[in-house]
């Protein structure tokens, strides 16, 4: 019994870690579905969003180093701080501008090119954004606090203790992340099912040619999808940044999203969510049960091995459409 409860706690924690992976994977899937672009820069987008959020919140002068170096001034802060909610809204605005710029400066010029070329362009974009983030906001590690509570939740502990006689250790941040992610997904589903723009987005994802013929502007849809992906990246950036600080390694969460995509399929939104949860739970359970036997630290590689197995036995993922070459 004790054993079972302990396992249950591991599973719950795994699920919550998985939510983070799902969020990043979601950004990938959105862009891939709507424009066939595998966006290598999704992780850097999350980093950039988090950097911008901290910068705005703390009233940092953007490009301060650059300006100081050129003009010999000593700018650093505006001397004000911006409330979290407003800062988040402003950052969302910046992500929309970024989407506009990406479409205008990159995608528009690569229309009709092979997917590999678009993929390469997003690699370039990733490096560019990484540099831009550094120059705009500085390369130091920043802590992010938008008021999401952290630390072990006593309520959850007391509640589970009462229910099962064993108090679960659950981080409050994880609980919040789960709730926020669930709201975000619900909003996305409502958007894509019930709004004109959402339906147009699904149409473009299904058949761009046909979408054009009913009067849908691909360009508008692309900007919209990149904006949404930017917003999803912002949410992921907030969660991750709150947990472990805003620094370069944040962009590496994208690497964890890859196995999630292999599992869930590149074109399925439910796939991205379930895939993330499976990886989260699998990772924690594996570490808990097998970890001690092999010297631990299995979380570093478990996801990739699982993804590899999927690649061999079910390359389209759990939910992805079967890959059929048309002849």
């Amino acid at each position: 019994m004790e054993q079972l409860l302990y396992t249950a706690e591991v599973v719950v924690n795994g699920l919550m870690a998985g939510v983070m992976y799902s969020l990043v994977a979601l950004g990938f899937v959105l862009i891939f579905k709507a424009s066939g672009v595998f966006n290598y820069a999704q992780g850097v987008l999350a980093l950039f969003a988090a950097l911008t959020l901290v910068g705005i919140q703390q009233g940092q002068v953007p490009f301060a180093h650059l300006i100081n170096a050129i003009t010999g001034s000593h700018l650093e802060h505006f001397g004000w701080t911006v409330p979290s909610l407003l800062a988040i809204l402003l950052t969302a605005g910046v992500m929309i501008l970024l989407a506009l710029a990406i479409e205008k400066l990159v995608l528009q010029h690569l229309v009709g090119q092979a997917p590999i070329i678009l993929f390469m362009a997003t690699i370039g974009l990733a490096y560019f954004l990484e540099g831009l983030g550094d120059i705009m906001w500085g390369a130091n590690v920043k802590s992010l606090d938008v008021g999401i509570p952290q630390g072990i939740s006593e309520t959850a502990e007391a509640w589970t203790a009462q229910l099962t006689g064993y108090g679960f250790f659950i981080d409050r941040l994880d609980i919040w992340a789960t709730v926020i992610a669930a709201l975000l997904v619900a909003a996305l589903v409502a958007f894509s099912q019930y709004t004109k723009q959402g339906r147009a987005m699904r149409a473009v994802a299904d058949d761009p040619q046909a979408a054009l013929s009913v009067g849908i502007s691909l360009r508008f849809i692309w900007i919209m999808v990149w904006s949404i992906a930017g917003f999803v990246a912002l949410v992921a950036g907030i969660m991750w940044g709150t947990k472990s600080g805003v620094q370069f390694s944040l962009s590496l969460i994208a690497l964890k999203a890859l196995p999630v995509l292999m599992l869930g399929g590149f074109t399925s939104i439910p796939g991205a969510i379930v895939g993330g949860l499976i990886i989260g739970v699998g990772e924690k359970l594996f570490e808990y049960s097998i970890g001690p036997m092999v010297g631990g630290a299995t979380e570093n590689w478990f996801a990739y091995v699982l993804a590899l197995l999927f690649l061999v036995f079910r390359p389209q993922g759990l939910f992805g459409e079967k890959i059929i070459e048309r002849v």
Binding site: A190, F191, L212, S213, V214, S217, R219
Partner: protein, 297 residues
């Protein structure tokens, strides 16, 4: 033919200059008239002047001019590779011709993107059916009305205010089209599961949902059996008759073309080799030559 064209999906490659006003030539032969079966044919709706379209070294359309008149059924025929689909793609904005002018409703059309052309009221179907396979028949047809919806995103998401009324009004229109094309029983079926003939019909329904002023059909009966062809012919005639929709269609089946169309353009190797009533075209020596010894289905 697959549409691997680069400009069709190229937003922003050309500026979205729309229309330059100007009169349409009113020659003696564009007086309105009434056909033998009582349909009214009006003035020139679409006028194509000296269109030339090249793909690299290939000249798919060579200096072609013809017009489409309000209320008529205009057929484009010709052997495989003659440039018929290319012509339709020029009209619908999927291809941008290197030379020539496109005049619509008396205005010269600047280079436009396909979605802009669609919003002018020019709807189309494709030679290789282009439907949204992941959606039901009903949802596919509804996309034909997407750009007409006016309520904002928030209202739609919350199903609130004008959004509900608007959705219901659009649904009613779509249901009428569904009844008209006799596809009630597959309304909720995902399109990917339908047989070929029905897919073609759904594609027609989606085009009709936009209540187009000009309807472009690229081989609406290709690959159908005799019975399906008869149904489709009847629908095309009814659309033209009941809604007064002007139709330009490409078709290989000569019997069908002769039965349906008011006037026929004949293309061969990118050139126009004939233009006139079905009878005129049938007796045109150049047309007969083009079709002799040319294998077509």
């Amino acid at each position: 033919m697959t549409m691997q064209d680069s400009h069709s999906l190229a937003p922003g490659r050309h500026s979205a200059r729309t229309t330059t006003p100007g009169p349409v030539d009113q020659g003696a032969d564009v007086q309105p008239y009434v056909t033998a079966d009582g349909r009214r044919i009006g003035g020139v709706l679409m006028d194509l002047r000296n269109i030339t379209l090249r793909f690299g070294g290939v000249e798919a359309i060579k200096n072609i001019s013809f017009d489409i008149r309000e209320g008529e059924i205009r057929a484009i025929i010709g052997p495989n590779g003659a440039g018929k689909s290319s012509m339709l793609n020029v009209i619908s904005g999927f291809y941008v011709p290197q030379e020539g002018e496109v005049w619509f409703k008396g205005f010269r059309r600047g280079p436009m993107r396909p979605y802009q052309v669609a919003r002018l009221g020019i709807a189309r179907t494709f030679q290789n059916i282009a439907l949204f396979d992941g959606m039901t028949v009903l949802d596919n047809i509804m996309t034909g009305r997407l750009t007409m919806m006016k309520s904002n995103m928030l209202q739609q998401a919350l199903w609130w205010g004008t959004a509900e009324r608007e959705e219901i009004a659009h649904r009613e229109k779509v249901e009428k089209i569904i009844d008209f094309l006799e596809i009630q029983n597959i309304r909720k079926t995902p399109v990917g599961r339908l047989p070929y003939g029905l897919k073609k019909r759904v594609e027609l329904a989606r085009a009709l949902a936009a209540e187009p002023g000009l309807l472009l059909l690229d081989e609406p009966m290709a690959g159908m059996n005799v019975e399906e062809k008869e149904d489709m012919s009847r629908f095309i005639l009814d659309v033209n008759d009941e809604f007064g929709t002007t139709i330009a269609l490409i078709e290989h089946d000569m019997g069908v073309v002769m039965d349906l169309s008011d006037r026929v353009v004949v293309m061969d190797y990118g050139r126009k080799i004939g233009d006139g009533t079905p009878d005129e075209v049938r007796n045109n020596q150049a047309v007969i030559d083009a079709y002799l010894g040319v294998a077509h289905d």
